[in-house]
Every structure is written in C-alpha cells, then in structure tokens.
C-alpha cells in the first residue's frame, strides 16, 4: 500500500500548439510534451503552407519563376528575387550592369530591414510589448512605401529580372529613403528605450533558447541565429556577391546564442543595412539597368513594335524562355534569416530542370527542438519569434 501512495501521479501532458495559434504565425504546429510548464519534448510539424515551389518552378520558363520566389520569404521578397536572378545569371555566364548591381543591393538591404523589423516587432508584441511592436511595424510601413515606390507592390514585388531589373529607381528615391531612414532611426531609438534596456524584456529573452556554437554549426543555422552564438558567417562578407565588397559595414555578433543576442543582432543589422543603402545610393553609378542582350532581356517596346528582330526576341523569350546552357549552379545570398541558396539545374532548355531553394528558416526550425527543450511554454514564443519562421519559405 505504501509503495503505491509514494508515487504521486505525475504524467506528461501532451499539448498541440498550432497550427492555428496566435504565436505560430506562418502556420506551424508544435506537438509538445509538457511536464507542468516545462517542455520535455517538441516535435515540430511543418508543411502547412507547402505549395510545391520546386515542382511549379519546373513548369514555367526561367523568368516565370521570379514571381514564385516573391512568395518564399514574403517578408523580404526582394532578396529572393536577387538571389534567383544571380543564380540564373551565373548559369548564363553574364554579369549585370554596375547600376543594376547597386540597385539590387539597395533593394536587398531595404528588404532585409523590413524583415528584421517585422521579426523583432512581432516577437516584441507577442511578449506583450505591443507598443514597441507597433513602433517597429510603423517603421516597416515607411520602408514598405519605399518598396512600393520602387516596385509597385508591397510584397509580391517581382522587381528583378534575369539580366537586370524591371525598371529604374523612381524619381526622388534617395530623398524618400533618407526621410524614411531618419524616421526609422527615431523609432528604433524609442524601441531601444522600451525594450532593449527593459528589465522584463531582458529577463524574458536572455538565457532562453540558448544554443552553442558547435550545435548551431552542426544544425546548419545561418543568419542572426548563428551570428548570435558568435560565429562570424555572413554570405555578404565571406563570399561577397553584387557590390557588397565595395560597401563598408560590419557584421554584428552575439556571444551567448540566446534570444536576446538574436534580437540585438537583428536590431544592429538594421542599422548596418541602412548604412549600406546610404553608401550604395551615394555611389550609385549611372547607366543602363539591364544588360543589352536580346536573348536574355526583353527588348524595349519600341523595338518590339517597330522591328522584326525585336518582335522575334520578345516572342522567343515569352514563349520559350531564356535559353540557359546546361549545367548547375549554387548561388547563396544572405537572406533575412540566413543563407538563402538557390541550386539550379539546367538541361539547356527555356525551363529550369530543377530549382532548389535552401530555406534558412526551414533549417532553423529543424534546430527548434534543441533550442526549446528544457524551457517553458512561454519561452516558445520568443524563441520561435527570433527564428522568424516564414511559412512561405519554410514550407515552399
């Protein structure tokens, strides 16, 4: 009798968090095993937003993949555009014009800022600091207007083309950016007062979701999550693409590998990205925005309507697609959440044979179990928030 009484009934509660849960934005499900509030095990279920990016990409022409890439990480779609276009250009063996490269840098960095702002803002508001979250969203809104002025759309931008860009910078772009950055910096200063030095926020974020350097590398983490552990890996520095080697910027690093470091790394990166944009706008060369190769870039409408060659090229690019020589290429760019790699295989036709994206947040979600085990249910929110899983990219 005594032996039975001694054992208090203590069992593991299974809790299914998601796929429809306020914190699982992007639709994801955690099958949790809880001991009280402590997470004993967490099985992460992804795929709710799977729509067959790879398969769909194999159906259209090389150019028609670009709109699909918008929908990968829809918080920083311009980086996806740039990464894909760069990969295709490497397959083609061409390099775009200097002005195009600078504009691509500007576009990528603005996208990165919106990505980090969304991530940090959402994470803050999920911790209850809704006001700070709104400040960040307000800053993002200003940048979204810039993106809108540049591309004509907020999220589904489809701005970059193979071999160039859709169109040049709008008039008064530099002034608009300057104005927006000024406001963004002011808002970020407010956020810093509200959050970065807030004791409750620090307590919630620091020493939560800790991951060591070695584990992070083993899990293939990239971006802010990896840099928060102190590993200095930024594609822009390690393998500079576009004109990043001409830019003066630093890569902020953390040391503890916890959520607070991730937050600080992201906030610092916003500042660095703003610096890059300012430098790029200053150094912006004049000239064409696309290469002059009618087999790759659509000719001007004037040529299409007035010359038979123009019409032919237009027709061929639209109907058959850009003919990419056979081969394969892996192009990595630094996305909002880390290394965004495009592995393309061409069989020489106008359609891609295989389009593989290395989704940084899919891989980061693979390490989520490791990050959250031993912490509490409430810690899922900031940890998941700082990974910044974007359903479109994770599930493709």
């Amino acid at each position: 009798m005594k032996a039975e009484v001694k054992e208090l009934p203590q069992d593991i509660m299974e809790l299914q968090m998601g796929p429809s849960h306020p914190a699982t934005h992007g639709t994801i499900k955690f099958n949790l095993k809880l001991d009280g509030e402590r997470v004993v095990d967490c099985d992460t279920e992804v795929g709710y937003l799977h729509r067959g990016f790879d398969k769909s990409s194999e159906q259209g022409t090389w150019t028609q993949v670009i709109p699909y890439t918008d929908r990968l990480n829809y918080v920083s779609p311009l980086i996806n555009n740039v990464g894909y276009a760069l990969a295709v250009e490497r397959l083609l063996g061409v390099e775009t014009t200097p002005r195009c490269q600078f504009i691509r840098v500007v576009a990528s960095e603005i996208s990165r800022i919106t990505d980090h702002l969304t991530c940090c803002g959402m994470a803050a508001s999920e911790l209850g600091a809704i006001t700070a979250g709104f400040y960040m969203i307000e800053a993002r809104e200003m940048l979204m207007r810039i993106v809108e002025a540049l591309t004509g759309a907020r999220l589904t931008v489809t701005y970059v083309r193979i071999g160039g860009l859709k169109h040049d910078l709008p008039e008064g772009f530099a002034a608009q950016v300057k104005d927006a950055f000024e406001k963004t910096r002011r808002l970020l200063a407010d956020v810093e007062k509200l959050l970065s030095h807030n004791r409750i926020f620090i307590d919630r974020m620091s020493n939560v979701g800790v991951i060591s350097k070695e584990t992070a590398v083993s899990y293939g983490l990239t971006g802010p999550v990896l840099r928060s552990t102190g590993v200095n890996y930024d594609v822009r520095k390690l393998q500079p693409y576009l004109v990043y080697d001409q830019m003066d910027f630093t890569v902020p690093l953390g040391s503890h590998g916890d959520n607070y470091d991730r937050f600080i790394v992201r906030v610092e990166e916003i500042e660095q990205s703003m610096r890059i944009v300012e430098q790029a706008l200053e150094k912006m060369p004049t000239g064409p925005i696309s290469i002059e190769d009618p087999r790759i870039v659509l000719p001007d409408k004037e040529k299409v309507y007035n010359s038979i060659e123009g019409l032919m090229h237009h027709f061929k690019i639209i109907m058959e697609g850009v003919h990419v020589p056979p081969g394969e290429v892996y192009q990595a760019v630094e996305g909002g959440n880390g290394e965004l790699g495009f592995y393309l295989v061409s069989d020489g036709g106008g359609r891609p044979y295989r389009v593989r994206v290395r989704p940084p947040c899919f891989i980061a979600m693979g390490a989520f179990r490791e990050m959250i085990r031993g912490y509490t249910v409430a810690d899922i929110v900031p940890t998941f928030g700082m990974i910044n899983m974007i359903g479109g990219e994770c599930d493709r």
């Binding site: 039975e4 009934p9 069992d11 299974e14 299914q16 992804v46 795929g47 799977h50 067959g52 790879d54 398969k55 769909s56 194999e58 159906q59 490497r90 397959l91 063996g93 584990t215 590398v217 083993s218 899990y219 293939g220 983490l221 590993v231 890996y233 390690l238 393998q239 081969g327 394969e328 290429v329 892996y330 990595a332 290394e339 790699g341 592995y343 295989v345 069989d347 044979y353 295989r354 593989r356 290395r358 899919f362 891989i363 979600m365 693979g366 390490a367 490791e370 599930d395 493709r396």
Partner: protein, 196 residues
C-alpha cells in the same frame, strides 16, 4: 573538365578512389563520390584539416529521369566556415535501390533535409533516426519531385487521423481510475506469470 585546382587535388588525395569525378564548373568545385562508404568520405571532408568542410549548407536531390543513369543524384553543398570555400558533392543513386547512408551522425542539419528528400524523392536514408515525411502528410502517395510524378496529379482524400492526444476528454482521463487500472493490470500480469 580536367582543369583541376588545388582544392580538388587535395580532395582527390584525401578521398582516394571514392571520388568518381572531380571538376570545376562556373567557378564551383564539384566532386562525384561513390555511394558506398559515403559517411566515411564525408567524415574526411569534414575533419581533414586541409579541407575542413565543417558546414553542411544544403542537401537535396535531382531526378534525371530518362536522362542519366543512375537516375538520382543526391547533392550536398559543403562550406568551410573558416575559408569560405564551397564544394558540391554528388552521389549517384540508382532507381532500383534508392538508398544512401544518413549524415545525421555528422551534421544534425541533415535530419530535416534528409527527411525532405525522402518526402519529395523517395530516397531512403539508412540510419536516419526518424525518417518521416516532413512537408507532406503521411498518407500522401508517391514522391512529387520525381519527374514521373505528373504535375496535375490529384491525391485521394484521406480520413481524419485519430491523433493520439489531440482531444482528451478529461472525464475519461480519470487519473485515479487509470492508476487503479494499471494496478489491476499488474496484478493480472503477476497472476499470469505465476501460472505460467
């Protein structure tokens, strides 16, 4: 194709005859290695100080259906964080036994990426701790990224899965009753063992 640069030479030297082919294309080093002894080869790539490819960047597969034999190629992208060198490692896999060894013991990143390849291509990874479908659901039929999977294929409807622990009626989950049942079971088991 035979235009070898020092890195490839080093890889050839270290991996020996595991390398089927090594070349540079569009500025990228590509090696093709044997499927047997795959983990050993990767271990050398990772741990040899001259190479030190300590970061598994990407893992995917390509289906060369009707274009190449063997049909599949599992493609690994490795990166050396120290120097920023990359290498692409390809492993040909035949259609008859689509299986390769799992790299989870070397890089834990391989866990999810291998699950995805299994999900999309049906390539099994021997020694993977938990090889389940990841993006698709368990009842999905076929492997969608194979070239012979039609793009407009429709999947049959599946009945709702009775997941363990999805909705537990707390009234049926009476802890005391459960404890009692367990005790009774133990008693029965004890009686059985005595009898047997």
């Amino acid at each position: 194709m035979a235009d070898e640069i020092p890195q490839l030479e080093a890889i050839r030297r270290i991996l020996g005859d595991a390398v089927l082919d090594a070349h540079t294309a569009r500025g990228e080093d590509v090696i093709v290695i044997r499927r047997d002894g795959l983990v050993e080869s990767f271990k050398r790539l990772k741990e040899d100080p001259a190479l030190a490819f300590d970061f598994l960047s990407d893992l995917t597969a390509v289906d060369y259906f009707g274009k190449k034999e063997p049909r599949f190629e599992v493609v690994y992208h490795l990166l050396s964080l120290g120097s920023g060198r990359r290498v692409r490692v390809k492993v040909p896999v035949g259609e008859s036994s689509p299986e390769v060894d799992s790299l989870v013991s070397l890089w834990r990143a391989a866990d999810w990426m291998e699950r995805e390849v299994w999900d999309m291509f049906g390539i099994r990874f021997r020694g993977h701790p938990d090889l389940r479908r990841i993006l698709l659901y368990e009842e999905f039929r076929g492997y969608p990224l194979r070239k012979d999977y039609p793009v407009n294929q429709r999947q049959p409807l599946v009945p709702e899965r009775a997941l363990k622990g999805t909705f537990v009626d707390m009234r049926s989950n009476n802890k005391l009753a459960q404890l009692k049942q367990q005790l009774e079971k133990q008693k029965l088991a004890g009686a059985d063992s005595k009898r047997g």
